[in-house]
Symmetry: none
């Protein structure tokens, strides 16, 4: 008779997980420098020393958090299947899916912003992350090639820049909505606005890629917006 049940996460692992979760919340809401180990300990109900036992230092903990969040994104992205779709449908789905992904992961966005503030040191240090290719990037390339072959997408589109643009259009809206709201004097995170933005981004990406753009018939009239 085994002492430990097989399929159980050990107490140790649970503690570690709790710490990681608490750290994710703390780091993403306060940034690396604003985050407090004490707070992470309190929130994870772990003893402070445990954090050092498992993660050695604040820096390492941050890296672990970042890695973890990154994996989450990649996993989310890998759930998307565009096989068998026509290029336009694929691009639409891909863009929308990416949009949804980031909308659901504001934590990751804040972590990445922080990482950029620190010039990407943690990301660069982590072998895991460097080796984790981005499915979005691969998919964009794939779709572009298909689309070009079928004549629906323009030639000469740099997939890397397109990838960056899709990410930009999606990411920036979540990342900077606080300051954007002040500039545009409009609330941006209401359900309606979020849906509108989704349409807009897809429209933008397709307009850019397609040789003949089919304008959505259902589009709202913005002629009096400003």
């Amino acid at each position: 008779m085994p002492k430990k049940p097989l399929k159980t996460t050990s107490k140790a692992e649970r503690t570690k997980k709790n710490i990681l979760d608490a750290a994710t919340t703390e780091f993403s809401s306060k940034g690396f420098d604003g985050a407090r180990i004490d707070e992470i300990a309190k929130r994870s109900k772990a003893n402070k020393s445990m954090i050092y036992h498992y993660f050695d230092s604040k820096e390492n903990l941050f890296t672990a958090v970042l890695e973890n969040a990154y994996v989450g994104l990649r996993e989310y992205q890998r759930d998307l299947s565009i096989v068998g779709l026509k290029p336009v449908d694929g691009m639409t789905k891909l863009t929308g899916y990416t949009y949804d992904a980031f909308m659901q992961m504001p934590d990751l966005i804040r972590l990445l912003n922080n990482e950029n503030l620190h010039k990407g040191v943690h990301l660069r240090k982590s072998k895991n992350m460097r080796e984790m290719y981005d499915p979005l990037l691969v998919n964009v390339g794939e779709l572009l090639r298909h689309g070009v072959k079928e004549g629906v997408f323009r030639k000469n589109i740099d997939p890397v820049n397109l990838y960056i643009s899709i990410a930009s259009l999606v990411y920036h809206y979540v990342s900077n909505h606080h300051t954007l709201e002040v500039a545009v004097e409009r609330e941006l995170m209401s359900e309606e606005r979020i849906a509108e933005r989704r349409e807009h981004v897809i429209d933008m990406v397709l307009s850019f890629c397609m040789t003949n753009r089919a304008v959505s018939a259902t589009r709202k009239d913005f002629s009096n917006a400003l």
Copy 2:
């Protein structure tokens, strides 16, 4: 013969300016929480107490820095004239100009990221900044209207979302290039890449706005990019 030269900024003002400059560097490179008052003092060659004499608190100093950088951007933007230009030329110039502006102001971008981490509290608190409308936003609206009237731009484009998109395409590249570089395994801030990106962004904006897109004939061939 006057004792004092006429065009002298007072010593006090110079000190204040030095502090503000040093603080801009420090805050934008380390973020609010990572920034050190001691470092600002050292860099500005001012005594630490002077900082408090002129700015009362770290928080206030940050607000002053943000405000100052914001004003810089607005002034830069106001130098742009699109009067008399055709809509397409205007939009091209506007987008390119915005791109250049942000490329030259990485500090501001980091400050804004930080401000978003803190949910925009400083920005919202500052009456000055809230009242400073964004020329880009106004110009985008203007251009869209003209373009629609002349039949070169699509109807039904939301100027606010377009404004956000232009900002996104430009801002994100500067803001997140460290993490993007890891993802796309490409160096992004070389002169060549920066120029390429500029083209790309303009292309994207025009593709989106125009009814009949004129594809740039000189566009590079990216078919083997990935």
Copy 3:
């Protein structure tokens, strides 16, 4: 056999106690504003952070010190028994005992002076202290009533004012002896003077209360004192 000895105060409690003791010395000798946390840390051999760990702030530490000293006084006072004594004897004992108490607690006196400088904010904030009635006050009332009933004490004496007077006669001598010494050009804290003062205070209180004052036959001759 138990691993831990039974009567051990935990290490934490000992540290806390050390801090409180050191703080009492520091606050009572320098006042709230003159007291230095660094000094308290040094004297208590505790790390400065421990002070904040246990007491949160200088203000709270002061309150704790005051409370602690107050409790000390009340405990001292509660040791006094006047049951069964005749009113005059009781009043004599009570006054003398109070005198002795304050003589032994110059720290408390300085703390109270400081508290009065700060308008009693700490005292008023502390529920504990507000609820701690003063045995002296109760006893004075009791004795007066008995004495009046037995005809040895005058009617119409306000116990509150009498209480205050006893406290005044005792307290002021300890509290202000430095300036008094300059005014009267007499050293006041010698054993002899202290004893003399004790007699004087008791005499004063009795003179005030009694209907027929019995003049002490052994009283010194002061006719050439000045």
Copy 4:
């Protein structure tokens, strides 16, 4: 023809006076360590450097303030005349007058408390103050002698201790009313209470001095006070 009018306080003197007044307020309300030079400068509308010009240091300024307040008290006391009064009337007047004096000078009381906290260093250092004899002390001695000669006052009363007692009964009430109020749960500084206390103190002093005490017929009934 003189440049300066003779009987005018010069601007310099006025500045000095303003500083002294502001310093008195500041020191008496915050104590030596709690007082702020900046605050004194602001309140006196003098430049901070002027304070150092006239008074050299915070310490010296405090001494000047104390000296000044002391002189005020002495001057007040010197206005009292008891010549020609019968001993009992004289003692009554003297005590009442002292009571009134202290009631009007809470600032001085706080300064003296502070001085005692600092063990009287400033007072002892000031030759002026050490040489300023206390009229109260002289008068007490005088009255006692007359009273004894006329047979209305007891022999064997130590004038120094009596002097201290009168001061105690008066001073403590003003000095410690904040903490006393908490202890006796009674508001102490209302006009009525102040008047009551005055009666009480006089009664106490006379009871102590007189051979045959005449009990005031108008005395309130306190038998239910507690």
